[in-house]
Symmetry: C2
Subunit: 276 residues, 2 copies
């Protein structure tokens, strides 16, 4: 092995993984080394560029806090998150499509009854969201856990607001016996993903827009069904074609209808895929 | 683009890079996206595994400090550093081979005269290191800047020692008019790369050894010549065949000769490649 060169090196690294007890870890690392080396060869990566990469990754890690996940953001803008979601959620026709989780979910959000206002002080136009949770055959799913979160009309999630000590525009509900749910919140608005970190610098260097189309996040769980992580987007949003995280799906775009009393109405039904 | 699926997504991400002003950045990022997605497809990466990857990279970034570079260590153990070095340093026969820079170089190390003891209190067996700096045609290179650094006999570089306020086993010299150099230091010993971080956990999970063969680091610079970054290894070291960072080159293994007076002698000449 003292005569390794740029051609034999990749195989030597893979051979060094030969004694990995977990076969899946071995498979993943071997493939990672193969593709990582292929990338470096493909572009003939220089040492200076390599070091810029080291600095970029280091800054990305150091930007992460308990409420900021810059590596998820990086994965999102490189399309890796959506690719992973797509591969794992190749579901039968009729089931609600999945999209990216995003970096702003918080476990153990406050519990609400149906009909409650989850905005809890977040600024924005009032909105009524309602619909049904059903299975693939049309069956009502009672008592599904519905985890909802969104940004306010200035584009900030509660966890991004310094000094705020309670959840806003975030909550957990459960579907009724007939599968129905409803809650009040605020109208989702387009907003830019955080641009003050390494990922923002990359978007700027590549002249990419940071603006995500308006969306409301849902994570819906029920025994016997696959967990659904998705968004509902607003029809007519000017950023639908250019989502920086590639999360838009045609089937997830809905009409948010402004009514005469000023309240916006959003009706959206979710169809879960049974665990087989 | 609202109908992106796992097959069309990669092309969509690459198209989003179309307006990148710097053509090299565009090339590198496009290739990175292609290979990153190919990796994810190849192993059919799950969302859970994706999240483990996010957590691993985050922890790697957060382990970095001004004296600890865990991302360089990661690149080293994946063979990426050595691949980059090899590609950029494909030099004519007769020139000294390059190897990895490693994470422990410090700029502006103390200056020494030839003959000085750069150990400066570092523990280890005394050693005399000497030789010549020459060009490819055999010409002496006078006044070359010779940056040297190494670990002590417990395997620690000075920057890893808490509370130490001065450089040890680290310094900068200049070659004499005839190209010669010499200094005293300590005998290099094998040591494990740091195992208390994410990279160490990866080595453990893959049952890989963390032990690097003993080596002395050199960075040699002279006007008109390519900078040489390399190590000198010790013949007979039991870790030469299993260097976790893949840095060993046959031509960089030398005899460190223990003499009757207890002093070890290392003679090593370096041949620099002219800038063309």
């Amino acid at each position: 092995m003292n005569h390794l060169n740029q051609d034999s090196l990749t195989q030597a690294v893979i051979e060094r993984l030969a004694h990995t007890p977990n076969p899946r870890l071995k498979e993943i690392l071997s493939s990672l080394v193969t593709h990582l080396h292929a990338f470096a060869r493909d572009v003939h990566l220089t040492e200076e560029e390599w070091f810029q990469g080291i600095e970029f990754l280091t800054a990305t890690g150091q930007k992460c806090t308990s409420t900021r996940q810059e590596f998820i953001l990086l994965s999102d803008v490189l399309g890796l998150s959506m690719l992973t979601v797509s591969m794992q959620n190749d579901k039968p026709q009729g089931c609600t499509e999945s999209t990216v989780f995003g970096p702003f979910h918080v476990p153990n959000a406050p519990q609400y009854e149906n009909g409650a206002d989850i905005a809890n002080g977040a600024s924005g136009q009032p909105c009524h969201v309602h619909g049904f949770i059903r299975g693939k055959s049309g069956e009502a799913i009672a008592n599904a856990t519905i985890d909802v979160w969104q940004a306010d009309d200035e584009g900030h999630y509660d966890v991004q607001k310094e000094g705020l000590d309670h959840a806003q525009a975030r909550g957990v509900l459960h579907s009724r016996t007939d599968g129905s749910y409803d809650f009040k919140s605020i109208v989702a608005e387009a907003y830019p993903i955080p641009t003050d970190g390494p990922v923002g610098h990359m978007l700027e260097a590549t002249r990419r827009s940071a603006w995500r189309p308006a969306h409301l996040h849902f994570m819906i769980q029920a025994p016997g069904y696959q967990t659904l992580i998705t968004h509902v987007f607003r029809r007519g949003d000017k950023y639908l074609e250019a989502d920086p995280v590639f999360g838009v799906r045609q089937s997830l775009i809905a009409d948010w209808v402004r009514q005469s009393d000023g309240l916006t109405d959003l009706a959206f039904d979710f169809v879960l895929n049974p665990v087989v």
